[in-house]
C-alpha cells in the first residue's frame, strides 16, 4: 500500500472538504425543518443531489479515489450502479 500510494492531499484541502460537508448538512437540516417554502417535488431531488455530492466528496478525497487506481473506483461503483439499475427495474410495473 505504502509502495503505490499517490501524493497526499493537503490538510487545507481536507479541511475545505470537511467545511463543505458540514455546510451541506446544515442546509439539509434547515431545509427539512422549514421546507423553505418549497414543495416536496423540489426538495426531494435537491436532497438527493446534496447526498450524492457529500458521498462523492468523501469517496474522492477522504477515501483517496481521486488519486488512487481507477480499478478501485470501478470495484466500488459497479455494485452501486447495479443496485441503481435493479431499483429502476423494480419501479417498472
Amino acid at each position: 500500500m505504502e509502495a503505490n500510494s499517490k501524493p497526499a492531499t493537503s490538510i487545507r484541502t481536507y479541511a475545505g472538504v470537511y467545511a463543505v460537508l458540514g455546510l451541506i448538512t446544515l442546509i439539509e437540516i434547515l431545509l427539512a425543518d422549514s421546507q423553505g417554502g418549497m414543495s416536496r417535488q423540489v426538495l426531494t431531488p435537491a436532497f438527493l443531489m446534496f447526498s450524492l455530492a457529500k458521498a462523492s466528496l468523501v469517496a474522492a478525497f477522504f477515501m483517496h479515489l481521486r488519486n488512487d487506481s481507477k480499478f478501485y473506483t470501478a470495484v466500488f461503483l459497479l455494485p452501486a450502479v447495479l443496485l441503481l439499475i435493479f431499483a429502476l427495474l423494480a419501479t417498472v410495473r
Binding site: M1, Y18, V58, F62
Partner: protein
C-alpha cells in the same frame, strides 16, 4: 509440470506489479459487497415506505438530532484523514490523538442513535410495531452495528500505533481502517437522506 509459486518474487505474488495493492483491493471488494448488503436492506425499507406510506411514523423522526449525529460522523471521517496524514509524516502522537478522537466521535454517534431509538420506542414505534418500524430499526440498527465494529477496529489500530507498528513508511493498517470508516460514513449520508429527509 508443477509450479512452485513460492519461487515467484514478492512483488508478483503481492500483485503490486499491477499497481494494485492486494490488501487494498481486498478491502474494496469487501466494501462493494457491503453496498449490496445495505442495498438490500434499503430496498426493503423504501418498498414499505413507498407502498405502505406511514406519515405518522415518519413524523416521529427527529431530523435535527439525527442531523447533528450526521455532522458528528462526518467530523469523525475528518479526524481519520488527519490521523492518516499525521502518520504519513511520521507523527505517531498525532495519529494516536486522532484515532482516540475518532473513537469518541463514533461513541457519540452511537449515543445519539441510542437516544433516538429510546424516544421512538417510548412513543410506540418499535421493531415489532409495523413494517415501517421493522425495516427502519433493521436498517439503522445494522448501520449502528457497523459503527461499533469501526470503533473496535479503531481501538485495535490505536493499540498497534501505540506499540510503534506504524511509521511514515508503514501505515497500511491505518489506511485500511480509514477506508472502512469512510464507507460507513457514506452509507449514513445516503440513509440520512432517504430515511429522514425525503
Amino acid at each position: 509440470m508443477t509450479t512452485d509459486i513460492s519461487l515467484q518474487n514478492d512483488e508478483f505474488r503481492a500483485g503490486s506489479a499491477l499497481g494494485i495493492d492486494h490488501r487494498k483491493l481486498g478491502i474494496w471488494l469487501f466494501l462493494s459487497s457491503e453496498i449490496m448488503f445495505f442495498g438490500g436492506l434499503l430496498a426493503a425499507f423504501l418498498h414499505y415506505k413507498i407502498n405502505n406510506p406511514s406519515p405518522v411514523e415518519h413524523d416521529l423522526l427527529d431530523v435535527t438530532l439525527v442531523g447533528i449525529n450526521t455532522f458528528i460522523l462526518l467530523t469523525s471521517s475528518f479526524t481519520v484523514v488527519l490521523g492518516l496524514e499525521a502518520i504519513r509524516h511520521g507523527n505517531r502522537r498525532r495519529l494516536l490523538t486522532f484515532l482516540g478522537l475518532t473513537m469518541l466521535l463514533g461513541a457519540a454517534f452511537l449515543g445519539g442513535q441510542g437516544l433516538e431509538f429510546s424516544e421512538l420506542y417510548r412513543r410506540g414505534m418499535t421493531l415489532q410495531s409495523t413494517v415501517y418500524g421493522s425495516s427502519f430499526f433493521t436498517l439503522t440498527g445494522f448501520h449502528g452495528l457497523h459503527v461499533l465494529v469501526g470503533i473496535l477496529w479503531a481501538a485495535l489500530t490505536l493499540r498497534k500505533a501505540a506499540r510503534g507498528r506504524y511509521d511514515e513508511g508503514h501505515y497500511a493498517g491505518v489506511e485500511l481502517f480509514g477506508l472502512y470508516w469512510h464507507f460507513v460514513d457514506i452509507v449514513w449520508i445516503v440513509l440520512f437522506t432517504l430515511i429522514y429527509l425525503t
